[in-house]
Symmetry: C2
Amino acid sequence: MADTNLYHVAVVGATGAVGQKIIETLEDRDFPIEKLTLLSSSRSAGAKVSYKGEELTVEEATPDSFEGIDLALFSAGGSVSKQLAPEAVKRGAVVVDNTSAYRMDEEVPLVVPEVNESDIRSHKGIIANPNCSTIQMVAALQPLREAYGLSRVLVSTYQAVSGAGNEAVDELREQSKQMLEGNNEVEASVLPVKGDEKHFPIAFNALPQIDKFEDNGYTFEEMKMINETKKIMHMAELPVSATCVRLPFFTSHAESVYIEVEQDGLTVEDLHGQLNDAPGITLMDDPASQTYPTPLDAEGKRDVFVGRVRKDPDHDRGFHLWVVSDNLLKGAAWNTVQIAESLVQHQWLQIEQ
Amino acid sequence: MADTNLYHVAVVGATGAVGQKIIETLEDRDFPIEKLTLLSSSRSAGAKVSYKGEELTVEEATPDSFEGIDLALFSAGGSVSKQLAPEAVKRGAVVVDNTSAYRMDEEVPLVVPEVNESDIRSHKGIIANPNCSTIQMVAALQPLREAYGLSRVLVSTYQAVSGAGNEAVDELREQSKQMLEGNNEVEASVLPVKGDEKHFPIAFNALPQIDKFEDNGYTFEEMKMINETKKIMHMAELPVSATCVRLPFFTSHAESVYIEVEQDGLTVEDLHGQLNDAPGITLMDDPASQTYPTPLDAEGKRDVFVGRVRKDPDHDRGFHLWVVSDNLLKGAAWNTVQIAESLVQHQWLQIEQ
């Protein structure tokens, strides 16, 4: 790294599924940390979390917690970010926010480093981390868009329960056990959406609802994929549509993505070439040897895995991709830490507002 | 029924997952049976199966088993159908075949009664039952096509393990138990495809391979959806493409279907109206009350369930549908018995070849 300074870093939501992965990733990447402050709601304050062999105590997050913090990584829900991110910025911290609170704010860059890293430099104190299902898709689309142009995206997702937090993970585990013991009348209280009115079993099932419904019949998750893709790729006019489905596996989202490119006459081999050379992408695509990525393959890995690249039989510019990535890493913690690394590396932490 | 005759019916593959459902459905529908003969491979011969309170003994299927049979319902794998269906026809039986053996044979009608019932009358002794994932999709598309025309279909499937037979069901159950006990190195020997070289865990995973790969990078399952849809709908030029994925649930396939219709300016309410009136379709679509079908909802039911009807935000003639049905009933046994009922009702059993 160009910058050899050490930083005072805060993780907000340190006891959550993503917060834990952020702390692990900071350690793993040997991020230049002088001091690590772990913050949470009052409910989780007092918990112990280990970082580089040291036991750190999680403290309750308050506005004053951000005094002296250089970089604050937020992953404690939208309402916490709305309340505390401006307080952190006021006290001189740069915030990377992993909630939906600021993603569509025109003043806030929404960043997947493989796609639009340079947007970070225009930050006014807050940089937003996109939704998990959006991140892996745009990472896979970017090399194809750069080489061939992109004129349409239709996606159907296959999303893991960990995207809905630790309670959803527990619910899948508990329901699965009960159903395997022959009890089909399992209780559901978390999925599809914790705060929504009805709950349905996820074990041995598929729920075509992620997040609440908007008035247009799409879910917020689907609209996130639509709107965030256009913002990240700077393609306000790109036609994008999405169907998002929660499925009974723990980790990694998979996506069946249909794209139309602008260039005619391309082959699967052409697309393979671009994906092979792209940063953050691992191509796993050889039908003859049954090589393709699955959610279990991607678990614990930082890359976005792409397979099943096929040309549409009826559309010369149409291609199908199967895109898989660990929703807690590239979909959340790793993308957050990548943005943090970029801030440090380019000395964009020190931007005067 | 117009015809009050009783028939000598044979079920070939009587001990398999679909064969069992065919026998249950015949009983449930009070099909006009004079005598029911249950046939299987020599391996399963001798097994007892109950029908209307009687214990019937399964016999080994041989060419001579079909002497005196009026109607033979085959569901014992493609090679059995290839060998024995012509023998049955030679002996005067009409065959409804639930395998892929004859589906694309130009002489053989491929039928979903809600779509192309009248094709049955042109049979030359064999009528083919389409692939499970195709049946439910075309049943949902037909009322929309009749009302508005249809110019494009793109589908991503979410398919249950029972489509791969009882061994796959056992594999999902066994792997799930082991993984819940903390063993992540589970053995896989059935899925994705019994006869293929590699096997991967299905429990808490998603496998983007159903059936073997063709040289074009699509799986046979995907090509079945593409080719059978065109044949059943008599739309050889309809652009259809598919991505087929096996998922960790036991029963019912779900499908994220994108269509383009020919008529401009339609609303979701227009499509609801057509689907509400369509035979064999249950519309379950009210986002405000979180109403949409899931695989568990459809299990044990004969209808095709449709929900999540949405207009594409960027395409006036583009719509999304979420289509769910019990893959062993409408996807197999029920569609087979529907064809049998149609043969009887229209006296198409007696067609002279």
